[in-house]
Amino acid sequence: MAPRSELRDVPRHHPTTQRTTMATPSKTPPGADPKQLERTGTVREIGSQAVWSLSSCKPGFGVDQLRDDNLETYWQSDGSQPHLVNIQFRRKTTVKMLCIYADYKSDESYTPSKISVRVGNNFHNLQEVRQLEMVEPSGWIHISLLDGANSPIRTFMIQVAVLANHQNGRDTHMRQIKIYTPVEDSSMGKFPRCTTVDFMMYRTIR
């Protein structure tokens, strides 16, 4: 931690140099709005099927604010790092992607910078599948959860761990998290989705 904090301390006293040092890793560009993803019909948000819990939170800034579809409200942690968001499903669920909204401009030192995603069956069984670093994020960050064979992960539990924040902040803000599962069109056999309206018209009787 010490070397790293030194590194960070330097920019703090020298705003200009901060720019230059931080400019070398390019800023994480924002991803597309997940709503648009949903509209393609290829993924579906399944956060409502899960139980969400946090390692710590400030009163009034908890799970509800994290899951309320409102980018103005956020979760603020209130403990020691790493801060954890635990997502537990009732049954083993296929998850394809995780979307986190983070905005450096509004959260500054509360913005997460290093996130680790772990999956498993229960708290004792978690394994890290992804770790990513973000540099001044300003929007949605898409984290795809694919296993070795490049297919979506099937799991009971997901844990999102915030290992570090920007400017070495202690607590973190997280504005929104969404979790997506691929939509399987299994109404007509194990085929991928049809693409044309002509096919889709005949697919089902509604």
Binding site: H142, G189, P192, T195, Y202
Partner: protein, 807 residues
């Protein structure tokens, strides 16, 4: 509200049963069924019309058992048989039976219910709602037989003694049944009843809108009514100081199933009136003062001249009669009035479909207003006594006139004339009912092509109405010809923008066609127009479902269910939404609810089958699909699903058979061919599969699944390059789709070593971007690779699943 007030005063004044009935009717008509219910409960009501009204209130308030008890004497007491009911209720028996049938159906006694409906139709072939209910129950009816006059209805015999059957509630049903025939009967009833009691008879003919076919028919109808009244007149000789207004129009209007009441009028309208006529039939020749149109306006009678041109018609006639001293002048006088009717085309309509919402009083008031405007030159100031005579003359004169106008034989007797005219008019009505009945029947049995043919051959002015077009649209929908259906439905919207029945089918059509703009416009329009109808919320739900916002769609469908728990389609749609959000248990519950509401709702059976298929309970799925198919045997989509399920159950031959049948029913269904090809592929019949798929490629050239399957077939056949070609085309066409499957297929392709040392990297360029088809073909390929005719190969930048954080 005026009527309620007055009725309350009357009841307080006179506390008789008729007044009670009147008051209850006022409450019922103003939409407060519970008031009518309580009122009638607290005071004993023995007259059949009161009982009928009470039963109707019970049904509206969902107190089905009580309603049944009222009508049939209850479970504990000896139940009356239907014959008893018929004799008891007399002329309103048809409505009573219809109501009873409705109660039976709702309480799961379908056989009794359908029996009731049948008898109701026997008694009164002009009722549409029992016919409709029977069709919904899936009974095979013969509209030819049903919509036919039996000897019961011919007014040859003297009017049978019947209790006054004119209930306002009848009016609701009779809104459907408007024919001179009925009015004749009812008039007769009125006569009888008035014979029975000269005191205030609360039942007075209401003139109602008629279903009578266009002008000539209406003219005839009017004349018929004239004739009928004439005949009646001949029979009765009791002069009565009826309110001429009532009597006149009532007598003149053929179409009025009489109902309605004259709250403050001491004398019953029609019958007495008619009696007046008869009395003075021979004596008076002069046409005294004109009928009081304004009198009508003044009369406080609940004259449900529910805005029908027909109704207005008789009155102008009478007016004209009264105004002209003799028939010589009447023709001229009449002609303008004859012209009037075309303008006053009957507002038949939604009355047919709405339940008792409109109040007779409002209508009568409206009509009263109408009279002065339409017949400005008719000033009417005559009093009752005089008008009775005048009306009599008028009717006679009209009769003469009509007969002359129709070039019919000389007026032998009013009775004879009337009967033949009447018959002609009723025949016209019945023939139209027959046609529509046949079409509707065909639709309910899902012989959709027949239904379309029948309904399209209806005369043009009927064809261009909301009802006919909606049902044609629905027939196209059931045939899965969504573009046609959409065209028809948009026509409906253009003609009758206020129509909500059938709009849920339209919304599903748009959902299938994925026309989100039209769908959201429709949804907005309907929810603005009527927040209390389930169809509007179903449309809204479909709109959001198309936008993949399933939670909101679920909310709207639940709202539709709240608004009307008897609307089966809302449950079905809700079930589909739950299925899409993978909440299969709730989906199952919803589909089951839909079936509970309507056993023949094949969509719900299909839904159940689909859920079981998703849960891989294939045999259950097959059972449910088969049940749905039994209800709707010509649905190719259903057959397709059954084929797929059978294949999953390893019954490939029957699967192929089913799919063949599906294709023969509807050759345009590409999915059937696709599945047939996939089954052939699974059974190793590669050549046949390929042929099938080639055909399919011609039909739907842009469908990635087709190429995907072709690729798999080629892969099995060992033609790797073709396979790869097709996979890449498939991926091209489906950039955002489940590429994984395609990529897997490609990967697996190359695991066993082949002549071509092609690896997955072959498919990607150095930047790890998947190659487009064009680029692929530029790599070295063996000679037999064909160029694809894909037009959009170039611009598809196949997405990179590799990039982590950016989509």
């Amino acid at each position: 509200m005026d009527a309620v007030f007055l009725a309350e005063r009357l009841y307080a004044e006179v506390g008789s049963e008729e007044a009670l009935y009147l008051l209850a009717t006022c409450y019922f008509r103003s939409g407060k069924a519970y008031k009518a219910y309580r009122l009638l409960k607290t005071h004993t009501c023995s007259t059949p019309q009161c009982r009928y009204l009470l039963a109707k209130c019970c049904v509206d308030l969902s107190k089905l058992a009580e309603g049944e008890q009222v009508l049939t004497g209850g479970v504990l007491n000896k139940q009356k048989s239907q014959d008893d009911i018929i004799t008891e209720f007399g002329d309103s028996a048809s409505f009573t039976l219809s109501l009873l049938g409705h109660i039976y159906c709702k309480t799961d006694r379908v056989a009794k219910g359908s029996e009731c409906f049948q008898r109701s139709l026997n008694l009164n072939p002009f009722l549409w709602s029992p016919f409709q209910s029977l069709c919904h129950l899936g009974e095979k009816l013969d509209p030819e037989q049903i919509f036919r006059l039996s000897s019961l209805h011919i007014p040859l015999a003297p009017p049978p003694p019947i209790s006054p059957a004119q209930n306002p509630s009848h009016r609701l049903d009779t809104a459907l049944m408007e024919t001179p025939q009925d009015t004749l009967e009812l008039n007769r009833l009125n006569l009888e009843s008035s014979n029975g009691k000269l005191t205030s008879d609360s039942t007075v003919s209401y003139i109602d809108s008629s279903l009578i076919s266009p002008d000539p028919g209406s003219l005839l109808a009017n004349t018929v009514s004239m004739g009928s009244t004439g005949s009646l007149l001949g029979k009765q000789n009791k002069p009565k100081s009826g309110r001429s207004l009532l009597g006149g129009p009532a007598a003149l209007s053929p179409l009025t199933p009489s109902f309605g009441i004259l709250p403050l009028d001491p004398s019953p309208g029609d019958p007495t009136y008619l009696q007046n006529y008869s009395g003075s039939l021979d004596t008076q020749q002069t046409a005294p003062s004109k009928k009081s149109v304004s009198r009508i306006g003044q009369s406080k009678s609940v004259f449900s001249q529910s805005g029908n041109g027909r109704e207005v018609l008789p009155i102008p006639f009478s007016q004209s009669q009264s105004s002209a001293p003799h028939s010589s002048t009447t023709p001229q006088v009449l002609s303008p009035t004859l012209v009037a009717p075309p303008n006053i085309q009957p507002r038949r309509s939604t009355r047919l479909f709405t339940s008792a919402s409109s109040t007779a009083k409002e209508n009568s008031k409206k009509l009263k207003m109408k009279f002065p405007t339409k017949i400005p030159n008719r000033k009417t100031k005559c009093k009752a006594a005089k008008t009775s005579n005048s009306n009599l003359n008028e009717s006679l004169d009209i009769l003469k006139l009509d007969s002359s106008m129709n070039d019919s034989k000389s007026l032998t007797t009013p009775g004879y004339q009337s009967i033949s005219l009447q018959r002609a008019a009723t025949d016209m009505v019945l023939s139209m009912l027959r046609e529509l009945g046949r079409g509707y029947q065909a639709l309910c049995c899902y012989n959709c092509q027949d239904a379309i043919n029948i309904l399209s051959s209806v005369p043009a002015h009927h064809y261009n109405t909301g009802w006919v077009l909606t049902h044609i649209g629905r027939a196209y929908f059931e045939l899965a010809e969504y573009t046609q259906a959409e065209r028809v439905f948009s026509e409906v919207r253009r003609i009758e923008a206020y129509r909500v029945e059938g709009m849920e089918i339209y919304s599903t059509t748009l959902w299938h066609l994925q026309k989100d703009v039209a769908l959201s416009a429709l949804s907005k329009d309907l929810t603005d127009m009527d927040r209390l109808c389930p169809q509007a919320w179903c449309v809204a739900g479909n709109c959001f479902s198309l936008q993949q916002e399933h939670d909101i769609a679920i909310k709207f469908f639940q709202r539709a269910i709240q608004v009307d728990p008897g609307f089966a389609y809302a449950y079905t749609l809700l079930g589909h939404e739950f299925a899409l959000t993978e909440e299969l248990d709730r989906a199952l519950a919803c589909f089951r609810n839909a079936i509970r509401v309507n056993n023949r709702h094949y969509n719900a059976w299909y839904g159940l089958g689909m859920i079981y298929y998703k849960q891989e309970k294939f045999s259950l799925a097959e059972i449910h699909f088969k049940k749905a198919l039994s209800i709707n045997p010509q649905s190719s989509v259903m057959l397709c699903h059954i084929g797929v399920v059978q294949h999953a159950l390893k019954k490939s031959e029957s699967a192929l058979e089913t799919l063949n049948k599906a294709i023969s029913i509807d050759p345009k269904n590409p999915l059937c061919k696709f599945h047939r090809a996939s089954i052939l592929f699974a059974n190793d019949k590669y050549k046949a599969a390929l042929q099938e798929l080639e055909e399919l490629k011609q039909i739907v050239p842009k469908e990635s699944l087709v190429y995907f399957l072709i690729g798999k077939v080629y892969k099995k056949l060992g033609q790797t390059h073709l396979a790869l070609m097709n996979f890449s085309w498939a991926m091209d066409l489906d950039p955002k789709g489940a590429n994984n499957q395609i990529k897997e297929a490609i990967d697996k392709r190359y695991l066993p070593e082949d002549e071509e040392p092609v690896t997955e990297d072959f498919l990607y360029d150095s930047g790890k971007n998947p190659l487009s088809a064009e680029e692929l073909t530029q790599r070295e390929w063996p000679a037999d690779v064909e160029e694809s005719s894909m037009t959009d190969a170039d611009d598809s930048q196949l997405h990179t699943a590799e990039s982590d954080d950016v989509l």
